[in-house]
Amino acid sequence: MENAVEINGLTKKYKDFALDVSAVIPKGFAAALIGANGAGKTTLIDTLCGVTAKNGGEAVYFGNMTDTDDDALRSRIGYCSAANYFPLDWKLKTIAECMAIGYDNFDRAHFTELCGRWSLGSPDDKKQKNMMKMSDGNRVRAALAAVFARDTDLLVLDEPASSLDPLARDQLCEMFREYLAAKDGERTILFSTHNIADMEFATDYAIFMAHGKVVEQGFVEDLKEKYILVHGDAQDGNKAKPLMISYTVNSTSFEGIALADNTTNLQAVGAVTERPTLQQLSVGILRKAEENAGK
């Protein structure tokens, strides 16, 4: 399988935080970057897109490109930050004009179509609101419409769903599918998210981050085979706990995740095992990462 991006020991150091990441982003899929606040998702995304300079390591894009200052690479990556992507005095018309100047592969007609789909109006309308007067959700929609209107090979989106309502999140998942399908396996998406449940449908590959490092990664279907969701009565919790990766208990029941290899042993102590959702998997993996960091 080909990778859109191979990240080899990419580092970025701040006074109180260090990013040190090795990961792959497989070509042709939507990869979710999942982690708690401060895990390093935005730093990784900004470093990958050349917004922030790395301190060490390397990211190889599309097999042989490494220089994020290279316009040939820039034009293949569609980047969208979590907030304030555009100056606040810009209108849709300004966005269309400026994106056409800043990026060779911007398609104004496609932008107009996407703005219409998201009820933002048209860049050709006489009366337009500027970004300052738009709601947070509409600002994100305008930014996403502008990025999706570029003919890119890799989309890197920082928290694209955070300000969107559930319907818009569903539309975003649909846009992911359309984007990936348009070039039949040649396009890739990397996005960070906290809304794991809403974005699960659009996620093929997951990269879990904690404290600046990747703690787990893989295809969602493979991860759901690798791990199991475990729950049961609180009285059986102590017997199940040593076999589990993450564990929480209340007065009546316990829950957590474990490696699928332990299924038989866990069932033998009275626990119930199930296939986890990505949300449950995320909570379990990130909780374990927090426990490890606290030791």
Partner: protein, 231 residues
């Protein structure tokens, strides 16, 4: 290796939403409106306060450097705002511009355009103010000397304020820049005409200003790239 470069006007359009010519005319218009508004207010206050006619009030203003001070204020304030617009990563649009065509070269083109805009808009503004004074619509104490002083002092002030741009604290940078801008333009527009009728000091300040702007801009680009763009 970069292949595509944007022109100064395209870079201006990308960063500010308006091209070079549009920006120059826009800034000149802001300066003129600011000046006319403030000047007319002052003239009306004198008319009402002293019970004299408009031409008499204009004549009264032209006997003191007060009108010249107002003339300095307009471009000084607007030029400081332009100089402080550095589009850091944490500012709206800052991250977008870092991924656009040309990268840092485009930022350099944008800033170059900003400097050209400040200078040309100030020249246009000064010319218009001179014409207004010529027709007796406003009072100007220093005459041609004051008009030239606005241009050369703006240039010197832009050069000096550019040296201050590496200051990270935005409040300190803002206050210091305004103070420096006012001090330089005030000295050139109000004090110099009081001391001498010769235009030689203006010429010297203009040359020093041009050199300062060239040196400070070069240093600024190097510093900005190292500490902010590539950080």
């Amino acid at each position: 290796m970069r292949e595509s470069k944007l022109t100064v006007s395209q870079a201006m359009k990308l960063y500010t939403g308006t091209g070079l010519a549009e920006t120059i005319l826009g800034l000149a218009a802001y300066d003129i409106i600011f000046y006319i508004g403030a000047s007319v207010c002052m003239t009306l206050m004198i008319m009402c306060g002293e019970g004299i006619s408009y031409p008499e009030a204009v004549r009264s203003i032209s006997q003191t450097p007060a009108g010249d001070c107002i003339m300095v204020l307009a471009p000084a304030i607007i030029n400081v705002i332009i100089l402080l617009s550095q589009y850091g990563k944490d500012k709206p649009g800052g991250k977008l511009f870092r991924t656009a065509k040309g990268g840092f070269d485009t930022f350099v083109s944008y800033r170059t355009g900003a400097y050209i805009s400040m200078l040309l808009s100030t020249i246009i503004y000064s010319g218009v103010v001179f014409l207004l004074a010529l027709f007796g619509l406003i009072g100007l104490h220093g005459g041609v000397s004051a008009v030239i002083a606005v241009v050369v002092s703006s240039m010197a002030a832009i050069g000096v304020v550019t040296f201050l741009l590496p200051i990270k604290n935005e409040a300190v940078l803002g206050i210091t820049s305004v103070l420096v801008m006012f001090a330089i333009t005030g000295v050139c527009t109000v004090l110099l005409p009081m001391l001498t009728d010769s235009l030689l000091p203006h010429l010297v300040i203009g040359i020093i200003g041009a050199v300062l702007t060239a040196v400070s801009t070069k240093l600024y680009f190097r510093h900005y790239r190292m500490t902010r763009w590539d950080s």
